[in-house]
Amino acid sequence: MKSLEELKAIRDKAKGGLAVRDESDASTKIVVGMATCGIAAGARPVLNAFSEEVARRGLSDVMVKQTGCIGICQFEPVVEVFQPGKEKVTYVKMTADKVAEIVTEHIVNGRPVTKYTIGANE
């Protein structure tokens, strides 16, 4: 170790991996339905894509978690986004390639991507 910058580089790199362990008061929660129906429809790559995207952008107040069956199995994979003071947004028939757009538009810029929500699919 020859400089403080070196130490900082290691710290920043390792920090992302530990963020999940902070007893978070995360304001935004992204919840992926991971029951049998969700997994069968391909929820796992979606979940991983969200985790990666959130970590890549260093969004410390966002928590990605999984839950059981949300109850609308024909629309799986289902992802719900909870933000305090706002109505829950439900994305349906999710795929991994929709994730980046949702994180950018909805989570960062605060504009839900309506074309992927349940309202657009009914």
């Binding site: 403080l4 130490l7 290691i10 991996g17 999940v20 007893e23 991971m34 985790s51």
Partner: protein, 603 residues
Amino acid sequence: MYRSQVLICGGTGCTSSHSAQIIEAMEKELKAVGLENDVNVVKTGCFGLCALGPIMIVYPEGCFYSRVTVEDVKEIVDEHLLKGRIVKRLLYDETVTDTNDVKSLNETAFYKKQKRVALRNCGVIDPENIDEYIARDGYAALGKVLTEMKPEDVIQTMLDSGLRGRGGGGFPTGLKWKFATGGNADQKYVCCNADEGDPGAFMDRSILEGDPHVVLEAMAIAGYTIGANQGYIYVRAEYPIAVERLRIAIDQAHEYGLLGKDIFGTGFDFDIELRLGAGAFVCGEETALMTSIEGHRGEPRPRPPFPAVKGLFGKPTILNNVETWANVPQIILNGAEWFASMGTEKSKGTKVFALGGKIKHTGLVEIPMGTTLREVIEEIGGGIPNGKKFKAAQTGGPSGGCIPVEHFDVPIDYDNLIAIGSMMGSGGLIVMDEDNCMVDIAKFFLEFTVDESCGKCTPCRVGTKRLLEILTKITEGKGTLEDIDKMEQLCYYIKENSLCGLGQTAPNPVLSTLRYFRDEYIAHVVDKKCPAGVCKSLLSFNIDKEKCIGCGLCAKNCPASAIERTDYIAPGHKLASFAIDKDKCVKCGVCMSNCRPKAIEKK
């Protein structure tokens, strides 16, 4: 990128209840369902709630699973990690809300009042991974000291913080460092006292097992401050996990150039070596510890000269205990004012206690100084199990004393504890209830010091032995009132005349129990009774012939064949009752635990 992290405690408590096998099973099960790249399994240090071990925490949900077994692992993987359904039956009940939701561990009674400074990384990081330590600002304090601070700035910060030695003495750490800066010695040393020996104490062990790098970093800071380039950690060989993790930590620090030559390119060299102690209690005394590092038999020597002037190998040395070291990097990073804002007027910061004895939440807690004993025992510790009544709390191990219920609301700090006849000690806190005999407790600690006295000075070697003889006499019902007075005198004699801390404090358990529980001593001497029913010689077992149903289970199980059937048949019963032959009875109590109608009593 892992979407989920499973933290499993690898401290000594959980390891002894098979957490290593749980980690193995977890990795196997994850592989079986193809999640090995999605879920990260991390072996951490102690979480603190040892009573509920083995402990597993699953993030991001923060689910706190307690008393996990190898058999439970498959269910956790299949239900929680694969399908996202929390395994509620394994959750620690205090983390489940009334509405059946999971709440954060930090909101439970055990954690709520705690303030984790020395333990901040324990149970959070993988102690065998230096990157995780660095991620939590590890080695940043060393970097700051080496690049921005002069040695006198560091000493001023330490003085201003008010940090006092956590090993028990409570000597101001900044002052100790300051004493070692003077003089123009060609060589100086920095030592870490990890020879934790009090019965029931495991604070330092848990820090070393959960966060070994913090000690290395702090020692390097001290090395820079006093101008030393060599450190020694004296750790007992009975702590194999701690030793192993220290070794790994030292290797990793070398690899990163955080120990060794020219650290951070500032020209500062510092290295650390381990020295394993063979487990002699006296080696926790600073002069004996240094004698032992030098390769001699661990015996204390008179002070002065103090180690800061003439210590290891005759050179100026600073010696601090593990918990003291663990506070140092945080003080450097957050400032002296931050640290001094916690605690009481003369005792700043926090203190780690190892809770043990008759208490619900056995484990490791860190509280701000000034918290009352009542808060620690009733709120954090969860109170006394089985509805028993609190009698006393023992702090300071064999050097400390017992605190009775009337001092329950005294704020815990160095000076208050001494004023009520005990001491802070290194942080063991043993809770006793109505079933503990205080004379027996004093005898237990005396037996320990008699065993551990090194024998160099007479007051300790002979004095503690005589003291134990009188105590034994009392517990056998052969004591007199005169013995109690004689014992008290002897206590003061030993305290005044012993060479080192071991002897000077050895009579404390006797003195403090005499001070608060003299009536129990008198009951043993005058009434020949042990009120708590512990001292065997003073007990007698009796069968109530009216209650005895004559089943004979007691006689069948009696190892001394001391129970026989009588001719008496109680009204309403069909069989003749039994009686105990007091001459044959060995007072083992087996009959009592086998008696269904509870006809046997001990007095």
